[in-house]
Each structure stands twice: as C-alpha cells, then as structure tokens.
C-alpha cells in the first residue's frame, strides 16, 4: 500500500469500494480515482492512442493526457475520462482503454515497432494504394487499432439541464487569486458568482504546504469559503468548469451535479450547462504544469513534480517508493523537500543547471540524494512500470538509477484559454517562460494570479484582491480594496521549457506525437503552428495539449531558429474542456427537441383515432382510419370521395391568420399583395399572392374584409411566421406612416373547412341560421354570433370555412360531424388541391414567380407592390422558365413521384435534357388514376405532349402526358353549388 500513515484531505474514517478492470479496491472520500489507484499500487491505467504504449498517471488534474479510463457500465459508460478528475464514490466501476486482450499484455503494442510507418501524416502516405482499399480495408483497420475508449452506443439514460445566471462579477477559479478576488468583490454587495471546477475550493492551496494569514493554506481556503458563503449575493458553484467565453460578457459553464455519485437522484439532472452573463469577470483559472520532453517520458511512474506534491499533501499517497527528481530550478526542489518530508527516498536529483545553489545542494546531501548538475534524462526503462532512469551527465557518461518514480519539473502554463476565446492571441513572456493572456482579453475580463503568470502565492493573493475590488467598482459598487491576505513571496524563478531530444520523446501524450514527428513536419514544410498542429495532430486530442502543447511549439521554434514569440501558438476556441453533447442539448431531446403546437380540435381528432403528422411544429391530423381500412390510401381515398360526393370537415386552424385594422389598411394590403385589395367590399373575400422583394412568390392566401377598417388575411401554415415578419418589416421600415395595426390571431380562432355539395346544409344546422346562396355567395364573409364564416374553397367544392374562438373549437367540430360531415385529414386536403391544381408547398418553393404558378393575371399594373420591380427582370419573364402544368401517366396506372425529372421521350437522361420536375403527386380517387403537378419549361404551350418522368433515385421511369393543372371541374361549377 502506498497510502501515507497520516495527513491529506481525505476522510479516513470512511472507506469507499470501487472496481478497476473488474478488481475491487478501497479508497476514501476525498480521493480521486487516480489517487485511490495509486494508493492501491495501481500505476498502469491504459494503452496509448497510436503505439499502445503503457500509460499511467502524469498529473493530478483534469488536464491529464494519459490517465484516461472508461467510467461506469452499460448505457452510462463514458470513454476517455481522466481518472485524475473523477471523484471516488462507492460502487464506482472503471475499465482501462485501448488494450487487447488485456492491459498488461497488449498485442497491439507491436505498433510501437512499426513506429517509423506510423509517423505524422502516415495515413496520407502509407495507405494510398489500391485506391479502393481506403474505405473498405485501411480505414476500418486503423479505426480499430487506434482510438481510445468506447462509447456505450445506447441512449443516454440521464437528463441534463440548462440554466441562466446573471451577475456583476464572475470569478473563474477558486485558488488563492480567485478566493481573494471573491472576498474583495463579495464585501461590496455586488452579485458575485465563483466557479470552481474542483469539488473543494482552494486550488493549489490544497496541494502545497504553505501558510496564509498564519493558517495552513487548505485551512485558510476552508475558512474563506465560510466567509464567502455568508455574503447574501455571492454564489459558489463547485464542480463547475467555465468552458467558453462569448460576446457581451457571456460565459458557458458546465456543473457536474451527479458525476460524483453512481447515478443521479430522482429528478436530478446529471449535468447542467450555465449561461452566465457577467458585467465584469476575473479569470483566476491558475496554471497547469508542463511536460518535459525526453526519451521515454510517457512511462507509468513518470509524473509532473507539482502533481507529486499534490498526491503527497492532498491525498496522502506516495506515488512511488524511490524517486528521481528532474528539474531546471527551484520548482523540482520543492518536490524534493515534500518527498523527503513524507519519508520517501529520493535517490537522485537531476538538475539541468551546471551551478546548483548551495542551499539546494545541501538539501540533497542532507537527505542522501545524489546530485547530477548540468545533467539530463537519457532514457527510461521498465516494461509496464518505471524501473530504471538513465541519466546523462554533463560530461557525457550515463548512469543507470533504480527508481519507480521520476518527478519532472517542466514549469507552468497559465490557463489563458478563456482570455483568448474572442480571438486574442497569448503573448510569450521570456522571463516567466510562459504564454501570458492576450493584451486584449474579452471586454470586461481581467486575468489575475497564476493565470496571468503571477505564480508567487503572496503576489497572487494581492493580485486577486485588487482584481476583485476593481471588478466590483467597475460594475458600479462603491468599495475599496481590503487588506490582501498575507503570505510569503516565494519568488520562484520561472522554469524554462526543457526539451531533451531522442526516440519516443513525447510532446503530446494523448495523440502519441513525439519530437521526431515535429522534426518530420519541419522537414516536410509544415512549419507554421497551425500547419504542423494539423499535420501531426499535436494538441488536437481531448486534453487540447494543455500539458504538452507549448513543448511542440518550442521544438518547432528550435528547429526553425525562431523565438517562441515568433512561433506563437494556435488559436483557442470553446469548449476549453470536453463537454457532454447531452449537456449542451439540455432538455431538448426526443419529443422535446422542439415544442409542439396543438389545434383546439386536437383532443377530438385523437379520439377519432387520427394519424398525426408533424407540419412544422404543428401536429395535424393526417387521416382518420375507419374499421376495416388496412392501408392509409384507403382512408384517404374515402375521405376525398366524401368531399367530392357529400360533405367533409377538415381542421384548418393551423393556417396563419392575421387581423388588420386601421384607416390605411387597404393601402397597406395593396402594397403587400400583387393584386388590388383596397377595392374589396366589406363582406367579401379575395384570393391574393405576395412576392418577396426579389420578385419571387412569398406566399398566397385570402383577404377578407370584415368591416370598413378591419380585415383578416390567411397564410399557408408553413409561411405564417415568415409572412408576419415580412409585414412587420414592410410596416415598420418601408411604410411607417401608414395607420394600420395587425396582429396574429392564428391561436385565437379554431377554424374548420366544411366542403362538399352538402356543405350548406351542415353549416346551416351548426349556425341555426339560413345562408341562402344569394345572401352568401361564393367569396362572401360575415359574422354570426361569435363565429366568422367565409365562403372560400380549397377543394373546388361548395365550401365554407367557419372560425370560432379557440375555446369553442372542440364543441364546434363535434357539432359539424354530428350534422353529417366526414372528417378528412391533411393527406386528403393535399389530394383535393392537387386535383384542382392549386399551388402549395412543393410549388411555393421560393424559386417560383407568380407567372410560373399561373397567377400572372393577378399582377396589377395599376399600383406599386413589394417585389414588382424585381419581378420584371428579363430572366423572370422568360417563357422557357419552368411553369406549372398537370401530368398524368400515359398508362393511367403507374404511380408518379414528386422529385422525378422530366425529359423528352427519346433523350438520354442527362442534365442538358432536363426540362423540369414533378412538384406534387397523388392518386386521384375522383379520376381513378395517379396525377401530378409539375414545373415544366414553357409549360402552358405544351399541353398534350408526352414526356418521360425519370426518377433514378427510386428506379422510376414513366411516360407522362402534359395536361392542364386543374384536373377536376375546370369550369368551377361545383364551387357555386
């Protein structure tokens, strides 16, 4: 066991059982999966992405590139989770990744021998021939061999939440700088939100032995948390990672509500994505440790020096029994001290400096560690675990040292990602040996503490205090900065980047990118950061190169002889950390992907057993099957014939209805529609069409004049919102002085079409009012009690549309049916309109003009209207444009399908012979054969011609006859009853 006898921020009074690769272990609350595995002596966690090399635990934070496991089982299995970021819970199950047949003996490790073939860009070069093999052979093979964990492949059983949060000051990170900022901002009374990715506040204070205001750092963090939580307007969000910065002070964060439990509680979302809008932001995200590049730097047992201190101090775990520490400065010597203080043998300290300060040399002597000054790591050895470290001295000789822990101090990278999300580029600082936040962070953001390269504890606390106070003042709160918490200024000199070339010196551990790959990219000309990143996939794994990214840039800088500042870094984009897609989707999954609109008669239609179809967000009755009907076509044919031979009722509540009022209503309608509407008398309805500004048809519908200064217009269901927006634009921008008001009344009215030769008797029964043809002729409208009645027809039959206030809709449709009308659905409605040749969705496709649709006669020459000028463009007047025609199959039997293209009978099926396409097709029970509407070049002149309808997608080939688009009652006799 590697658990230390005392210390740590774990709860030793309780034990937690967990399993890794099927074996059961125990840990304590407060552990991560990584610390608990280390405590149990488990150091091999998985196999690497490309070479299947053994990998262990490199860091103590969520940025770990190696310690990736599959967490949980069944539908909750989640791949590529860093064990370093998983809070231990009772019953946790984890598996190692990318190994076959077992973690310890992995056959794919042979890939390591093939490394020369698998270098950067290998898949562009190696698997070129034969060409056909890429999709069938190479890609599946590579995909099987590479990659990391497996997704569950099952629907996610958990729910996710999204929420909105507004504040004066957002503080990102609750390390020393963040806590100091929160204290300063919170006391001003400002609304403060403090986000911390960890379950505990404190950041590095939890990992180091330090003192603030005379208290141990971790204890100070605890007492500060109590102070902060007492501020009424300060909100602390733990387990919350801010992953994106957006415009206008908006940030996105993910809160892990239940990831520290086996599964969420009842009604508890697993994760919640917060949209946080902040007046000011303090970015105090700290810094993450950098890797050091040397041959074999990936072997389990190699760990970053700061992570070693974290395991010792926070988790009371010894990451090894015999340690070698490699450092270029004071950072590694702090780890030497920490190891010695915990009684762990330090065999040697490898310091790249030729001159080691006397105090540090004396420390090595005191604890009995050999000191190699001016030395480097030549290699590491060990099958699945570090056994030997080979040290190359300043004079060239190599020493083999036995050790199971190699702590490497590579320096720190400020966490600047969020400061760069709006396009800022980090700035290289030579004295701090780090990329610092851009000079132009997102507006309202200030970066404080280690995230700004101020690594010293005292410095960080002062910086946080000032930033927190400034933010509160900038957000409008009168406050002065409090005395910053006091801590010594351990002015540790910066640790420069350390590259020791050689075979298998990794700069990206998650994507298996080595310094050799960077050199190859350099040789092949991929030298700019954005180029070599993509060529080598360096920094493109889920860890986004947080530990190794800068090393690759340094390697390229060295190869090109450019400075780090000249080399630069790649652009940071959100999310800065992986976020579950489910969390981004929130509640909007499955049936809740979009809301559903229901008509007032929905419950009635459902009672009738209607089959429903989505029509935009509306749910509409498609047909009403009756006993004995086994195919939808039977129901639809029956419904169509009921309308043609008797009377039917259909719910048309979804049609857009817009009511207009005002003395200039007529002038406004003339401006909107292609035809004259100001002349429409009270009590009459007129058909009309609107164009877009570009001269193409926007929508069609009816206009009814109810009173001298009151109209109601209808739109198609699909275009209701678009037409209203078009009208708002026309009124607010183009004709602001017209005295007209309009509002959507779609939801106010339940509206039903009653159609068929017996329609009048049904309406008279429902209204209990006589409506003789003379008093209420075709295209009449009027009000009867609470009902509005329109004599308009979409089916070509004698028809009325009756509208009542929505709450009366259900009762009305029941009365209409009781009076003898047969319910018909959207399909029958479609067949009826195709039989009459009325354009709808397939024809109102945004590419057709009024002339194309046979509505040219409506275009008024006596007034201006929207789209008039553009509709006169020569190309739009070309008679060769595809124009509306009717089609029927030459054999009167073969089904026609929308989408089929029209070709001359003898022409080969090539694009140059294409003459149009079928827009709508149906079987006409009235005629007893299939019919279709089509857009055909020079259409009206070609009635009587025979063409081919060519449908290569569905293997269809039919001869069709071109006819008038109106198939039933072209004289319109039925309409007049």
């Amino acid at each position: 066991m590697m658990r230390l006898a005392a210390g740590g921020l774990i709860d030793r009074s309780r034990s937690v059982r967990f399993a890794f690769d099927g074996r059961v272990y125990t840990g304590h609350p407060g552990d991560t999966l990584a610390s608990a595995l280390l405590a149990n002596g488990v150091r091999l966690l998985g196999r690497s992405f490309k070479y299947h090399r053994p990998r262990g635990i490199m860091t103590a934070g969520p940025e770990d590139p190696c310690a990736l496991v599959e967490l949980r089982t069944g539908a909750r299995r989640e791949p590529n989770t860093p064990a370093t970021a998983v809070e231990l819970f009772d019953g946790l199950e984890a598996q190692s990744q990318n190994r076959f047949p077992s973690l310890r003996f992995d056959l794919m490790a042979a890939n390591g021998w093939l490394a020369p073939l698998l270098a950067a860009g290998f898949y562009y070069k190696t698997f070129m021939w034969p060409a056909g093999w890429w999709e069938r052979v190479y890609e599946p093979l590579i995909r099987r061999a590479a990659g990391l964990g497996r997704a569950s492949g099952l629907p996610d059983p958990d729910t996710y939440d999204r929420a909105h949060l507004f504040c004066d000051v957002l503080i990102i990170g609750a390390g020393p700088a963040g806590l100091a900022a929160a204290l300063a901002a919170g006391r001003s009374g400002a609304r403060v939100v403090l986000c911390e990715a960890d379950a505990r506040l404190g950041g590095r204070l939890l990992a180091e032995t330090c003192e603030i205001d005379g208290q141990p750092g971790a204890a100070w963090a605890t007492s500060t948390e109590a102070t902060l939580r007492a501020f009424p307007e300060l909100r602390v969000l733990t387990r919350t990672t801010v992953f994106g910065a957006y415009d206008h002070g908006t940030y996105a964060a993910v809160e892990r509500l239940a990831d520290h439990q086996p599964f969420p509680d009842a009604h508890q979302p697993r994760e919640r994505v917060w949209r946080i809008v902040a007046k000011r932001t303090v970015l105090a995200a700290g810094a993450v440790e950098r890797l050091v590049a040397f041959p074999g730097n990936d072997r389990p047992g190699v760990m970053l020096a700061g992570a070693v201190r974290c395991y010792l101090n926070r988790y009371a775990v010894a990451p090894g029994q015999t340690a070698v520490v490699a450092t270029g400065g004071a950072e590694g010597w702090r780890t030497v001290e920490a190891l010695a203080a915990r009684g762990i043998r330090v065999a040697a300290v490898v310091d790249r400096r030729a001159e080691v300060p006397p105090a540090q040399a004396a420390l090595a002597q005191r604890i009995g560690a050999r000191l190699f000054a001016g030395a480097r790591i030549g290699a590491t050895r060990g099958a699945t675990n570090l056994r030997t470290v080979i040290v190359e001295g300043a004079t060239g000789g190599a020493q083999r040292l036995t050790a199971d822990l190699l702590a490497v101090a590579g320096g720190w990278n400020p966490q600047v990602q969020l400061a760069c999300h709006l396009g800022g580029r980090p700035v290289w600082d030579e004295t701090r040996a780090a990329f610092l936040p851009p000079t132009t962070p997102p507006p309202g953001m200030e970066v404080a503490g280690a995230a700004a390269g101020r690594f010293g504890l005292g410095e960080s606390l002062r910086d946080g205090t000032r930033a927190g106070s400034d933010a509160a003042v900038a957000a409008g709160f009168a406050t002065t900065a409090p005395e910053p918490p006091s801590a010594p200024d351990d002015d540790t000199p910066a640790t420069p980047i350390w590259l020791m070339p050689g075979r298998k010196a990794f700069v990206d551990l998650q994507h298996d990118v080595t310094m050799d790959d960077i050199a190859l990219a350099h040789r092949e000309g991929f030298r700019a950061v954005e180029h070599f990143k993509r060529y080598t996939t360096h920094g493109m794994a889920t860890d986004q190169g947080k530990t190794g990214g800068v090393l690759g840039m340094a390697a390229m800088a060295a190869l090109t002889g450019r400075s780090m500042a000249e080399t630069g870094t790649t652009l940071h984009r959100p999310p800065s950390t992986p976020v579950a897609i489910g969390a981004l989707a929130g509640r909007h999954r499955g049936k809740d992907f979009r809301p559903t609109r229901l008509t007032p008669g929905h419950a009635w239609a459902a009672e009738q057993g209607a089959s429903f179809v989505e029509s935009g967000v509306w749910l509409r009755a498609q047909w009403f099957p009756r006993a004995g009907e086994t195919e939808w076509q039977q129901s639809v044919d029956r419904e169509v014939l009921a309308v043609r031979n008797g009377v039917g009722v259909s719910d048309v509540s979804t049609l857009g209805k817009i009511e207009l009022a005002g003395p200039d209503g007529g002038a406004f309608l003339d401006f909107l529609y292609i035809n004259m509407l100001s002349t429409l008398p009270v009590g009459r309805v007129r058909y009309g069409a609107m164009l877009r500004e570009d001269g193409f048809v926007l929508d069609d519908g009816t206009v009814a004049r109810l009173e001298a200064e009151r109209w109601v217009i209808t739109t198609t269901t699909a275009n209701a919102a678009r037409v209203l927006a078009h009208m708002e634009f026309a009124h607010q921008v183009l004709r602001p002085n017209l005295r007209v008001a309009f509002v959507s009344v779609t939801d106010r009215w339940a509206q039903y079409a009653v159609a068929g030769k017996r329609a009048r008797e049904v309406i008279q029964a429902v209204l209990e009012h006589a409506i003789p043809d003379a008093a209420f002729p075709a295209m009449a409208c009027g009000t009867f009690g609470s009902a509005r009645l329109f004599r308009i027809s979409f089916s070509g039959e004698l028809a009325y549309e009756i509208a009542v206030p929505a709450r009366e809709g259900d009762a009305l449709v029941r009365r209409i049916v009781a009076a003898g009308a047969v319910p018909y659905g959207l399909e029958a409605l479609g067949v009826l309109r195709i039989e009459k040749g009325h354009p709808a969705g397939g024809e109102l496709n945004g590419q057709t003009t009024a002339r194309d649709l046979g509505l040219g006669r409506l275009l008024s020459a006596r007034k201006d209207f929207i789209g008039r000028a553009m509709a006169l463009r020569p190309a739009l007047l070309d008679p060769a444009r595809p124009t509306l025609v009717g089609l029927r199959p030459a054999d009167r039997r073969t089904r026609l399908r929308a989408g089929a293209h029209l070709l001359p009978r003898d022409a080969p099926a090539r694009i140059e012979h294409d003459q149009g396409w079928i827009t709508s097709a149906a079987f006409s029970p009235t005629l007893g054969h299939p019919i279709a509407l089509a857009l055909l070049t020079n259409g009206p002149a070609r009635h009587g011609e025979r063409l081919r309808a060519h449908d290569p997608v569905r293997d269809g080939e039919t001869e069709v006859d071109v006819v008038e688009p109106c198939f039933v009652d072209p004289e319109g006799l039925r309409l007049r009853g």
Binding site: H267, R587, H588, P595, W618, A741, T746, D747, P805
Partner: protein, 172 residues
C-alpha cells in the same frame, strides 16, 4: 409543500391596442379618462380596477381582463382616431408560477435576469422559454410570475415547466 406552485389562469379576455404614429399621448389620455388605466411604459405592466395593460412593443399594448368579457367595443371607442383595437381573447394561455422556488425554476427556462434588483413586480418582458415565445410578468414579490404563451403551445410549455420543476413543483 412545494417551493413553487403552478396553475393555468383561464379564460383571459385580451385586446391588442396600437397607437398611430405620434398618437400615443392622446390614446393614453383617453384610456385614463375612460378606465383610469395608464398605458404601460416599456418593459412594464399596469392595472386598474381589474384591467391590465402590458407593454408589448413601441406604440403597442395588450389590455386584459380575467374572465369572459366583451372588451373590444369599449376599446375600439376609446382608441377612436388615435389607434386600433383587435380582439385576441383565447389566443394565449397564461401559466402562473408562485412561491420561493419559482425564480430558480425560471432560471432554468428563461434567458432573463429575474433577480429582485433587475426584475420586480410590474415588470414585463417578451422572451423565449424552451423555444416557445412567452411574455413574462412579475405579479408580486413572493415571487409570483405569469408566463403567457400562444394557446397552441400550452401543452409544451406545461411540459417544459414540469420537467424543470421536478419534485419542487406542485400543480394546482
């Protein structure tokens, strides 16, 4: 005892009221004289004697009364030559959320700052909830909020509120 209670308020009589360009002061004066009701300022709602006025857009308000009434003729007369009135009764469903948990619930639904410093009784806003256009009003400081959506969306809005409320929500 739930932290938040929810119930549908119905029916609502509602009339959309618009003023012609430059006529809002005259319309306001007539409305005040006739109903003692003030035209609401942007982002606010007012009430007098059971009548409610909500600001919707520049020169555009909605006048409401709970229950079934014939409000239109009186408002057409009040608007006279200064504006127009259109009956929109039945067009909207109104969901009332009340109780200490309602602010938290709405934080999961609305992209609006409902903190007492930002949104108080007699404030109103048009926004979106779960892809549904809603008009939000704060009624009192318990706090109580009314969410009005188009009637056809009522079931979806109820479902969205129910999902987000979980165990803390009680339907009345």
């Amino acid at each position: 005892m739930a932290d938040c209670t929810a119930r549908w308020i119905a029916p609502i009589t509602a009339v959309s009221l618009a003023a012609w360009p430059g006529e809002a002061p005259a319309l306001a004066a007539r409305l005040r004289a006739r109903f003692a009701l003030d035209l609401a300022a942007p982002g606010r709602w007012t009430q007098a004697d059971g009548l409610v006025c909500v600001w919707l857009a520049p020169d555009h308000w909605q006048i409401e009364r709970v229950g079934r009434h014939d409000l239109l003729p009186a408002l057409v007369a009040a608007a006279a030559e200064h504006g127009a009135a259109i009956d929109v009764s039945d067009a909207r469903a109104v969901l009332r959320l009340s109780g200490p948990g309602s602010r938290d619930l709405l934080a999961r639904l609305l992209p609006l700052d409902l903190h007492p410093r930002a949104f108080a009784p007699h404030h109103a806003a048009s926004t979106v909830a779960a892809h549904i256009g809603v008009q939000v009003r704060q009624i009192d400081a318990r706090p109580t909020y009314d969410l009005a959506c188009l009637r056809s969306y009522a079931e979806s809005l109820g479902r969205a509120v129910d999902h987000r409320g979980g165990l803390a929500l009680g339907w009345e």
